[in-house]
Symmetry: C2
Subunit: 134 residues, 2 copies
DNA sequence: GACTTACTGAGAACCGTTGTCAAAACGATT
DNA sequence: AATCGTTTTGACAACGGTTCTCAGTAAGTC
């Protein structure tokens, strides 16, 4: 039987607070920072659980996996700031259809797709501009 | 000055032969299999070089990086078989535009996107069907 | 409160990848 | 063809993120 522990709740909550995509290690550091004694392995386990249950999305970037609290049960994609990790959830029916059509046109079955946009958000763009042109 | 070695050529050629996305380790194994004495580190270095020069595309899957020989200088996406790695290059102008528009609508700049479709190709589907219903 | 058993913490282990450095070899030059 | 400066290679160590192991802890049940 599945049990509820303060550790799982702490990870869920910290992931929510993060607002964007964060690594397991960053999340662990943040939790320790705020006084928690949670172990790194537990953070990994909790994140895996959340992802399996559809409460979190994950993506790989530069050799590490990033996690984010996501609207459960909804299929969506992400617009992610490369600088600060801030993320916007996007739905795009036309892209869904395009993906399905493209796959079946080539005889592919059981198709899933990865559609993510990486950029620099308005706030980080501003900061960068001000830094380079003072 | 950049030099040409048989090792680089061997990697380029093996990557071409692979036909789909393969890992550095798999490529190294294949090369050794066919009698080459090339070192693993060299395969990694060659693949990094090819990717930098736009002769290969790469993507991350399950904690490892996969490489593929690609049409140089063309922006395209991939339709990849989860079973055998076979890959089809796809161009999709509407998706490009959608990505650009979505990013700018949310104030994001310097946007790049990742758009890949994973599925099971016709041949692998056939094989799976035959295996389960003999 | 006692019991069962899932979960946690600490560290070792794992695995893909990158760094190090002496030896090899490419390519320009003579 | 022999020499030379420099790039590249190969073998292995090191690295970093993630997973495994296992004894100890604690959630939920009776």
């Amino acid at each position: 039987m599945k049990r509820n522990t303060w550790q799982k709740e702490a990870v869920r909550s910290a992931l929510g607070d993060a607002g964007g995509f964060v690594s397991a290690q960053a999340l662990h550091a943040a939790l320790r920072e705020s006084g928690s004694t949670i172990a790194l392995a537990t953070v990994y386990r909790a994140l895996t659980g959340l992802t399996d249950e559809g409460e979190a999305d994950s993506l790989q970037q530069e050799g590490e996996v990033l996690y984010r609290a996501c609207t459960p049960g909804s299929h969506h994609h992400h617009l992610i700031c490369r600088r600060c990790g801030t993320t916007v959830e996007i739905e795009a029916q036309p892209v869904e259809e395009w993906a399905r059509r493209t796959a079946s046109e080539h005889g592919f079955t059981r198709a899933e797709h990865v559609v993510d946009i990486f950029g620099v958000c308005a706030r980080c763009s501003d900061l960068a501009d001000r830094a380079s042109r003072p």
